[in-house]
Amino acid sequence: MSFLEISHLEKSFGPLRVVKDFNLSVEKGEFVSLLGPSGCGKTTVLRMVAGFETPDTGSIHIEGKDVVRLGPNARKIGMVFQAYALFPNLTVSQNVAFGLKVAGVGKAETADRVREMLSLIGLPDLGDRYPFQMSGGQQQRVALARALAVRPRVLLLDEPLSALDAKIRVSLRSQIREIQQRLGITTIFVTHDQEEALSMSDRIVVMNGGIAEQVGTPFDIYNKPTTKFVANFVGTLNTFSADVTDAAAGRVSVGGTPVQLPAAVEPAKGDRIGLAFRPEALHLGRAIGREVTLPAVIRAVNFHGSVIRIEVEAAGTNVALDTFNRADTPPPQVGDAAEVSFSARDVIVLEY
């Protein structure tokens, strides 16, 4: 059994089934993200692990023991909230020391641990401030220190970065990940921001409607989505519709151009299927190693600096692709005729 084992978790609020047969195993020291759209039940799963909600059925085992019957104050789980939730009447040091005091840790040891935690989060000199005297980013780091000070078995973070502005969000991301790896603490991180999940996690759980649609590494989730929802929710996706000409041989046709897929098309997917691509799998113009070429018309050009995102119309649909900026090559003009090429190896086959 894994360090944290969630099995067959169910939760309803009145008639609304919010979490349905949710299963997840987390190894010790792993960083797992729950990613999904608003209202899909991420927070509810997290709150059941923390003990703030009681599951209708199912079990949550930590270190082999079922904790469902334990109160939140007996689970030894650290929690970081979106709204920081620092105690306004206590200084930073007192906030960090709170859990230790409750646990009856001695004065000297508490002082040492508080100092250690404050330097861990890079705020060694702000111990005497009150929460209202600090920026959101600083407060959230203190909240992290407070949660970690008691050496919890599991760390839970519920969208800890969404109240912060973009720049701090990105820098705190790597800081949290670094601290997590240094302490080797088992972590569940809730977010609806795919970039956050992709960049921080060992594994991602993509949730939809209370179900874990796919569990996998960021690489797998992005490159090998197993459901249409995951494919669409994570990253940008271009979908061509294709007619199946020979399912067993994996031959299809896109707008009249024949494409040989690397594997057979499952008959269950029907006569018409979707061929999906990440923007980086499509190439403007012909290229070596991209055996399929479609005629296209440029529809929009968005200059992002190092990357240029170009929208083209090909095989009757609008698709987006990325090219790198080069100082010696100006981007194409809207309305130009062009070609896009891709390799059948990069195709994600979807039910249409």
Binding site: A50, P72, A74, G78, F87, P131
Partner: protein, 263 residues
């Protein structure tokens, strides 16, 4: 701002000042005239030297403190729990706490006497301590609307649910949460409730008189009916106490360093 609105403003202010200040001035002035022809503090000296004044005042102050403690113990956990777990019950609880404003104190005290008289199942009025307790309970009821409102307003300024959960995840139980997190954060609200309670208890007459306890209210009434200048001196003293309470509320506000946060 036009001249006219400014004039109206000043006029309103002056009128208000006159409305409150003139009678007070008159009252104070009269209380100083105990000695013929000159102003003196004779009336005050007499009042303060009166052992009955000292006893009744001390008694009422102690009752006020007991009432405040009782009220905080009753109201803080209730208001906290209602906010945390029973938000749907809030209108009902609020209604119940408002009842003492519509039910006269005399009804409450007759109820008490009927329920707890010497030949009842719980003869509280049979002993002095029992009667004192009844009185404190009655005062708590009278102060309930103010105490509840004050504390509930205080709870509104903090994120009760999240702070509670944060404390819980750090291992805290309910006593720690209430004592170390919730109470300090609503302390100003609790204090303003406490000072209001104090002001009510100090002057209260009905309950104390009917339960026959030696409180300040009945003493005030007796002096007022029998002496020429002392009642006015007493009025000024009570007034100063009440306003002292108001000042203390302001002071409490100033001394909480962490509430200056822009929320």
């Amino acid at each position: 701002m036009s001249l006219w609105t400014r004039l109206t403003g000043w006029f309103a202010l002056l009128f208000g000042l006159g409305y409150f200040a003139l009678p007070l001035l008159g009252l104070t002035e009269f209380s100083l005239r105990a000695r013929r022809g000159v102003y003196s503090l004779d009336a005050y000296a007499k009042v303060i030297a009166d052992p009955e004044f000292q006893q009744t005042f001390l008694y009422s102050v102690s009752m006020a403190l007991v009432t405040i403690a009782l009220g905080v113990f009753l109201v803080l956990p209730t208001a906290f729990w209602v906010r945390l777990r029973l938000p749907a019950a809030r209108p009902y609880v609020e209604f119940i706490t408002l009842l003492p404003l519509v039910i006269p104190a005399i009804v409450i005290v007759f109820g008490y006497i009927r329920l707890y008289n010497t030949s009842s199942w719980l003869p509280l009025t049979g002993t002095i301590m029992g009667t004192n307790f009844l009185l404190a309970a009655g005062y708590t009821t009278l102060a309930l609307p103010y105490m509840y409102r004050a504390i509930d307003t205080g709870l509104r300024t903090i994120d009760v649910a999240t702070l509670t959960e944060a404390a819980q995840s750090l291992g805290a139980g309910w006593t720690t949460i209430l004592g170390r997190i919730i109470l300090p954060n609503v302390l100003v609200a609790v204090l303003s409730g406490a000072f209001l309670t104090f002001a009510i208890v100090i002057g209260e007459f009905t309950l104390a008189a009917l339960l026959d306890r030696p409180a300040f209210g009945p003493y005030l009434q007796r002096i007022g009916a029998n002496k020429p200048y002392e009642p006015f001196a007493l009025s000024v003293i009570t007034f100063i106490i009440t306003w002292g309470c108001m000042g203390l509320i302001q002071l409490a506000n100033r001394f909480t360093t962490y509430t200056k946060a822009p929320r």
